[in-house]
Homo-oligomer: 402 residues x 4
């Protein structure tokens, strides 16, 4: 494909260099292409206001881009290894189909604000998708909490038996954690959901530009004013977004860690049907809960991806650097990992077996020592005295299950 | 000092073990002590409602704690290596001064929700302090932006001269970035500013408890409902808070990186008076801008501290683990680093010299190529054609300073 | 394909679960397949000694595996989404082609020691490849150092002009750094290059097993004795290996950071031909050194991948966990990133232009202040006095380029 | 104290700036002071050869420095908040006591190579200390392995009962892991144990310098040749050293994670005497194994400190940057954390109770399924068939403890 930003003598570029520079864009940009198309449609609206194109021309561009989106969806057009990126694919497509009109599309924008825009549209879309899926998971958790609200369960602190809780309380704790995680996701979107279009290469435009038009067309609540800051938020806003997903993976990672423990033979509070587990190639008796190990592991990926995103811009000066191109990869990886994590856990929890007998049996008498102490305290004995009284009564058995 | 939570035969504990378990609490808990005192006063209010103590007793406790706060402020009472922690110091102080009434203070709470409470009060306080300082820095930056709004400055992308900006736009970009950072700080405080008091050891209390009273007394907008989730948010909420500070350090780190570059002899866009710089022990001619290197470096500390906080709870099951005690250290370190970062940069920017001549001279003719292209595009020539025209005109000189 | 380790009713496993559990193995295991084949050939040698198969049967297995390796190389056989992993592909292939003999191949091994083996063979191979490529890069650097050994260049500390060096010294510094990096790579291979075969699932085998035979057949200098430690080194040895590559990327990242700076218009000490650079889609005059930005960025990827590898096993107990399966991905990513980094930099440095005039002109008089001081010191004046003398002479101009 | 490297008008430096620039050096440099003294004595030997001072003068310097070392040990001289750093303390001390001779000590060196030297001497010393302590811990572990070599213990994979092992094998696995960790420590010291003295500020010296003399005097096996690389290894060599400690903490972190699990009431394979455990302030029955939680947590600190060290130099150009000063803090923190970790675990394992009954009882019949399969395989039945036979026999009970 023809190049738009290769410097000169592009034909002679050594393949090893070209491959390196485009990096994983040939794959990743297919994910971003639909968002870039939408962003371009928003930009076209501004071009009308700026009197670069007419309203009728905008309609032709919009229509052509709709067709392109459709072709991309059907796999008829794909960003490929030889292409520069999805931005070039769009301009070339328009030029091929609309002639000189296509050559007007890049007026007043740079690939910089174009990329910023498509990434934010992507994050907005994925944000909604992940929130929806998280809500479904919350429903499953809330259902379990309701159904088993009276089933007792040992509460552990320092991994030692502490006080009785209920299965209802247990699953509810994750419902509340996820609620906070979604509040975070929404709160942070309030920061990154600003329109960068019109910041161009990070220095704004040498002419007056109707930034508000494109922002409105694309559903951005506001424009991000300073063009230098627009550029500086590349990487920063992705980092914020990934941070929210990290928090979700932390919540679900803890749930998974619990499940790995509580499905051990020594506990078997919970179990899964055979078709959710695996065996061993060597040990015929094994029934493994790989599923919960794998859901636990997602947090590691996301934490590393968050750091990676951060590091690309570490200690760099203002202005765009190609290093930041690489932030697309951990962003997409993070979104897909999180989506899969939520889906898999939802499915597993829909099929989880709650072993009421094992749970009930696990409550040992000494776990009521706090209740006993509190009862004494409520009767007027100073708490610390009551505590000592109960502790001495437990005597030598303290800490040992009877 | 007498121990409250050492298991048994505490006198015989080997010193190496004791030192290890208390860790840095002997130092850190002096920072948290005032917040723990306030938290205890809030808890005392709940004790009245729960009929454990009378209103008059609450007043005696409140007064005693005010005195303790005062003594801690004056350094007359300090958490020391031999103590367990600040929680023990408080209960022991009350018991020593109020007798049996002191022994009632721990009714209905654990060191777990006590620690959660004091940490959130600490974060609330530090949040305000850092926001205030950040606003002062913003004012200094806005002042510079206003004063030098018409001074030209080269904008760089890929570290190459790109388009002209102004010193005003440049400093404004950091004002806007910090504004977003403060929005983030506030948005996230909306999540962690919930009262954990009454969650006790992470399993709630075996009797009905007036959680709302303590929450109100301490200014928490709401209670954090599920006690298991209260416990699970230890580490999580600190992580969120640190993340906000990371974002501030990212903004100020970029500013610092710019300053390191722009004070080089090859640029000298900006400079600092001698008393803000250092020399070399070997090279008599050196004038070093260590200050900006050190402000740049804070981001590294904070990023690592954020990770550290995250890692303490990594892959652990629900319920408190002593690992989480160690989160206090990166939290305090982060707050102090950020406070110093803001203060130092504010001071430096109040004294910065803007070298208008060097800035103006640095604008080279080819930086107007985009303006030229846009002008052609505005006149009706399709942008891509205009771009090619200008590019060819620049000819061999493309990319080379004249 | 038939399954070997799926628990039961495997046909009914929900696709979302299956996809999640196999993860990226369908892609990654094609990279590991040849090493797994080789490992299996080594294992077959042990089977002879253990009297499970005859020497003649071993020959049939070896031959069949050679054919499989060939087919894998030609893409005629590939691990696919429906398969369990490369281990299953091998056993199924042997069983299909050799009948009951194929069913004997897994005697005395688990997928655990099988995976450990193939990963180490992979690391050994990649280690050699990367060392070879690094040596080529060292040669290019040494060539530059030799060719420009007398060209002066300003040395910077605190990013300020410090003392004169030469281009020769400059490039030599990276030759020496890479030499240390290769020493590290070799030293660390001395740790991970131990045979884990015979550790089976991490608990050894219930019968005596000729571990030495397989180790020798596969060129391992020694066996890794304790089977529990064999398992515990999954993730640990990969981490060590990645750490070495991190060090290479640190060295080359600094070189790249230098190049980004020294190709700026303000320096232009070095430049690249046009076909190694890129332009801008908006600014016609731009010539960008994206290449050095992208080589700088590799360090960020590797640092994150190192952390990721570490995190999968964080806080986990002894014994295999499925979390560790995910370590394969950052390992492969790291190797490929490093290989590309070395190749691209080698190519770039083969074409780099050394701008002698700019380098020479950049040496300013004050950079000789240390030489002057040393001369006085050599003449007998106490150094600190000499330093003060020179400093005063530089007077007001200290730190200012003349 | 008089300043050596403050630029000018140092008296007027604003306190906030001065505090920030010296950072934690006032505390940390007391740890480094003895090593800096030793390094200075080595440098003095080179000064003789370079004819800057006489042999007799060197003796006076050596003696004065011995006295200073003694005073530092007794706390009579301390680096303080007002001082620049330990380097200044040394030169000022010599100048005060030896007059003009003291003013000669800095001839031919910079604080840069001085700091590099003292850090390496510190790492060499700590390396020996930690290796010695690790060997003691290995002895304790080997003693346990020997004493309980025949006590059975369940081996877990995927946290599910897998195959029987012995307590002997279990503890031996950590002996072998630590052996590898010490091999790593030694191998890596082979890289950083090079003399940087004579590299001065990272550009070498303008006169011929007897670098070999100082290297020999300080016991460095070789000099680190290129002065630019000497400087570039600041941070890099510390990173390598910390990496070794990370590996130790990984090994001991896994041991600790095991202990947290195996001291749970559901297992109680191991226990600790009361004076190694703690209780709860609320729950009178609690006996907590905080100790193992705290030893597990050290890995988190070290991983973060490793990253922190790495980040200070991230994306920076060649030459010293003040950012690197901050690497001293995570280095010292890491060393002290590791030392404490080893000491505490050694002490705990010396007192650990092995509960043979619980261990033996935990071996359930299905754990012999692999032995059974191997027996069939050894009798000539193809392994996969034997596996299926045993699996079917286990029937519905597969994966369920009998």
């Amino acid at each position: 494909m023809k190049k738009l930003w290769a410097a000169k003598k592009q034909g002679s570029t050594e393949p090893v260099i070209w491959d390196f520079l485009t990096g994983k864009d040939a794959v990743l940009d297919n994910i971003f292409l639909p968002y870039d198309i939408t962003g371009t449609q928003g930009h076209a609206a501004a071009l009308v206001k700026a009197r670069i194109i007419t309203r009728a021309e905008e309609q032709r561009i919009r229509k052509a881009l709709n067709t392109l989106r459709e072709k991309a969806r059907n796999g008829k057009i794909r960003v490929q290894a030889g292409d520069e990126d999805c931005h070039t694919v769009i301009e070339m497509y328009l030029t091929k189909n609309l002639g000189d009109l296509g050559k007007k599309i890049h007026t007043g924008r740079s690939r910089n604000d174009q990329a910023l825009t498509m990434i934010r549209l992507y994050m907005r879309d994925q944000s909604k998708r992940l929130a929806k899926n998280t809500n479904q998971l919350k429903n499953v958790l809330a259902g379990l909490a309701q159904k088993y609200k009276s089933v007792p369960m040992p509460g552990y602190s320092h991994a030692q038996k502490a006080m009785p809780i209920t299965v209802g309380q247990y699953f509810s704790s994750f419902v509340e954690a996820l609620t906070d995680d979604l509040v975070l996701l929404k709160a942070i979107s309030g920061i990154w959901d600003q329109s960068p279009l019109g910041s161009a290469a990070g220095f704004g435009l040498p002419i007056k530009w109707p930034r508000q038009i494109a922002a409105r067309a694309l559903g951005f609540p506001c424009i991000q004013n300073n063009p230098i800051y627009c550029q500086a938020s590349r990487g920063k806003f992705e980092r914020m977004f990934i941070f929210c997903l990290e928090m979700i993976s932390q919540t679900l990672g803890r749930l998974s860690a619990d499940m790995v423990l509580f499905t051990m033979q020594e506990f078997r509070f919970f179990s899964l049907p055979d078709n959710f587990t695996t065996g061993s190639s060597l040990m015929p008796h094994k029934k493994n809960y790989d599923l919960f190990e794998m859901t636990r592991a997602v947090r590691a990926s996301l934490t590393a991806a968050g750091l990676e995103t951060d590091l690309y811009g570490f200690n760099l000066i203002s202005g765009y650097h190609r290093d930041l191109q690489r932030t697309k990869e951990p962003l997409v990886r993070t979104v897909e990992d999180t989506a899969q994590l939520i889906k898999v856990l939802t499915s597993a929890l829909e099929h989880i077996e709650i072993n009421t007998n094992n749970l009930t049996r696990a409550i040992s008498p000494e776990m009521y020592s706090t209740a006993e102490t509190m009862k004494l305290a409520a009767s007027g004995i100073p708490f610390r005295k009551a505590y000592q009284t109960v502790k001495e009564r437990l005597g030598k058995n303290s800490g040992t299950p009877p």
